[in-house]
Symmetry: C2
Subunit: 470 residues, 2 copies
């Protein structure tokens, strides 16, 4: 039951007719994301600016965050300085930083000029953290209280300053020297006595992260410990920001999308697909196709040196696509499981031996079953004439035997290809991870190349040396 009962036309009409009361009512009853999506399509940007003039900044700040970055930029262009200040004061610092990262330099300096000194410092600090670190996604609007406060005093304090905080459900407790001590959850206020001190009820074993912790690791910690907010400490173990679960939900989605892109050989997009242009999409997808084509030279070399064999026994070419595809698919299965396991923190280097042994046994089992199936399928294909193979002068049992040789050869190659591809599928992501690179993008090209070449070498080896077909 999503509520998307607002259209661009309705917004435009209310604005055109200056129905301010109706407009305000919309903002009070409809989630800002729905309003922002409708507003993104409004033709005249001045209509959107009008919304900011008449609706309370509590609503418009969130509404602004939900607008597309293109519209955000145009809106800020039309803002007076005082309108800009109102917006910035009502926004959380991490949201300001998020949209500033999409803005041209002149708007960035304009924003930095109009905000107060503390906000400017906070923004600059957040902008300076490396992308994808805890520092880059944290916010500076949190409630920190000194551990000596009683609960009664704490509640008064929260009433006074809490309106600006991104969450009041977790209160961060520091000592007089501003060292981080622990956290208190708001529900403890409900269940504790007013005269208890924060020090008595604080969770001093609370999990924290460092400013340089990778956002993916922060997400893993949130999941593992079921957190809704986590304190971010700087190098001196001082509290410097917090990360809330809503930002982590975005991180999880972003990281999963990136891993999926990389596995499919697409360099992760900075923006959404819809906001990425044709040329940009080509740049994100083309290089890997060319890299793999160049790595494909190794298969070409093998095939090239067996041209004589292929000429005199063309049936061999017929099964090359099946070999390539099955090798690629079976390796791809293992890689996907590995990369996902590594990404969600299920596997570490210490599990390598165990997983390799398991996947090796899986490969043996799958290899045997697929080979048997292949053997039967290929004989049927030849019997039905779907695939033509009937050397001159050979008939009856002798022909069946010839066909079994070809089919057997392909099946045996398939078996080894599956075992090799699954073994590499475990090994290469682990090596890449141990080298502290992202396994998602580096693994696939390597494995495809090695599997293709080894499948062909085994194929021709069995054909020429074992079965002596040519």
């Amino acid at each position: 039951m999503e509520k998307e009962n607002v259209s661009t036309a309705l917004l435009e009409e209310l604005i055109k007719n200056r129905q301010v009361a109706k407009l305000r009512e919309l903002f009070e009853t409809i989630p800002t994301i729905d309003l922002a999506e409708a507003a993104n399509d409004i033709e005249d940007i001045r209509d959107i600016v009008f919304i900011f003039k008449v609706v309370k900044s509590d609503y418009t700040a969130e509404f602004f965050t939900d607008l597309s970055s293109e519209v955000q930029e145009k809106v800020i262009h039309l803002f007076t300085d005082s309108e800009l200040v109102t917006l910035l004061n009502a926004s959380y610092t991490d949201d300001i930083v998020d949209f500033m990262e999409e803005m041209p330099a002149n708007l960035v300096s304009r924003i930095l000029k109009v905000v107060d000194k503390k906000t400017r410092n906070d923004i600059n600090r957040l902008l300076n953290y490396k992308e994808n670190t805890a520092g880059s996604i944290m916010t500076t609007e949190y409630i920190e209280l000194i551990s000596e406060y009683t609960i009664k005093e704490a509640i008064e304090k929260i009433r006074a300053i809490g309106q600006d905080a991104e969450t009041i459900y977790t209160i961060f407790i520091i000592d007089k020297k501003r060292n981080f001590i622990g956290t208190v959850d708001l529900d403890q206020f409900v269940f504790s006595k007013p005269e208890q001190t924060l020090d008595e009820i604080a969770d001093k074993a609370a999990i924290s992260v460092g400013v340089n912790t990778d956002q993916e690791d922060v997400a893993t910690i949130f999941k593992r410990y079921n957190l809704t907010a986590v304190p971010v400490l700087n190098e001196d173990q001082r509290l410097t920001g917090i990360i809330t679960i809503d930002d982590i939900v975005d991180v999880m989605e972003q990281e999963a999308t990136e891993d999926m892109s990389r596995m499919a050989l697409v360099t992760p997009l900075e923006d959404s697909y819809k906001d990425t242009g044709v040329l940009k999409m080509a740049i994100k997808t083309m290089p890997w196709l060319i890299v793999l084509m160049i790595l494909g030279v190794f298969s070409s070399v093998v095939l090239s040196s067996f041209q004589d064999v292929l000429s005199s026994l063309a049936i061999l070419s017929v099964f090359i696509p099946v070999l390539m595809d099955t090798g690629g698919n079976s390796g791809g299965q293992t890689i996907a499981l590995m990369i996902r396991g590594i990404a969600v923190g299920e596997f570490g280097p210490k599990d390598y031996g165990h997983i390799l042994w398991k996947e090796f046994r899986v490969a043996l089992l799958v290899g045997i079953m697929v080979s048997i199936a292949a053997f039967i399928i290929f004989i049927i294909e030849m019997y039905l004439g779907i695939v033509f193979y009937a050397p001159e002068g050979i008939v009856g049992t002798a022909l069946l035997f010839e066909r079994m040789k070809i089919s057997g050869m392909v099946s045996i190659t398939l078996f080894f290809t599956i075992v090799i591809s699954k073994t590499l599928g475990v090994t290469i992501p682990m090596i890449v991870k141990a080298l502290k690179k992202d396994p998602a993008i580096i693994s696939a090209p390597f494995i495809t190349t090695i599997v293709d070449v080894s499948a062909l070498l085994i194929y021709f080896f069995i054909c020429t040396q074992i079965f002596q077909l040519v």
Copy 2:
């Protein structure tokens, strides 16, 4: 800074020496997930049962949830009925249902026998919801208050009953007829006056979901509206449960893992990779390899019918793997973007035309660039002798021209293959989605098959009809 400062050995030692105070202290200061992971490896299950005897059930209930299902089962076997009741009373219903789903039938009936009537009804109700629906992941421990209460009364009520609720940060407001009216966030209690009624401060536009809503859609709603809890309504619009963000985080991870598995042709695992046996893994991976091998018959047919061409011009076989791989890779890129876009709700059927047109232009651009690169790469390969192609009696400029013909033929085929694969990569997932099936698993086999066959047909058509090489 994860805190994993507890080992199996330490736990075993404390239990063996009956150091109850130390043990209790551990549970008060260390997250239960860390303790459970250490406890999973304890040899003697009676040692784990001892923990439940001496540590407060507030801690052991969560600790139990974090144990592996294998250990959970053994622990319950050794429990007396009264120990079991203590555990169940301290656990949330959704957690009980989660671990019951892993238990053998005799333990399930034992659990249902010892719990009180209300819990039994709740468990039965939750167990009956279809897997992956809101009903199956919701919990029944929430705070619902009648809208006429003042804030002061509400706080007293929460103090009295709130300890058992899974969250008190969102309070669910109903009218006297038990119809759901809206929600109140706990922070509103802090910032409102004690004599205001819940009716005055409730958010009546609060988002809700139905019991049969798919969990993936619930996750999308959480993300879109930045929720931390959502009410679940039954068919009569009555409040019947709630879902909290920690469960949604698990859903998101699970859904991303499943999509990644499906895209890689692995039927999603029910348990973690580590808990899945070798045979089970083979069953999850083998069928798709065989299905694709059978679909591969179409390529075999094409190749089979051009055996004469392949015999007389073996160089053609050399480039087949490059054609197959590039076609597969470029289609795979588009499919991955589509499937992810559909999964996170970025694309719907209405976007189909727009995306097709965009991806078509991307394909043209990528196709042209890759073809040009391929043309140059293949000529260099032949020039360097890495790939051998030098028809007898042809030298000098004539040889270069012959090589350009071969290279050009492959490049043109690549161009069309890329355009076809990317176009299909948009179209097939959209069709599958429109048929209300999961695009992740059905798309890849179809596309691989169609792309392989069309690449080969184009290849031989250009070779025999246009370039008239054979």
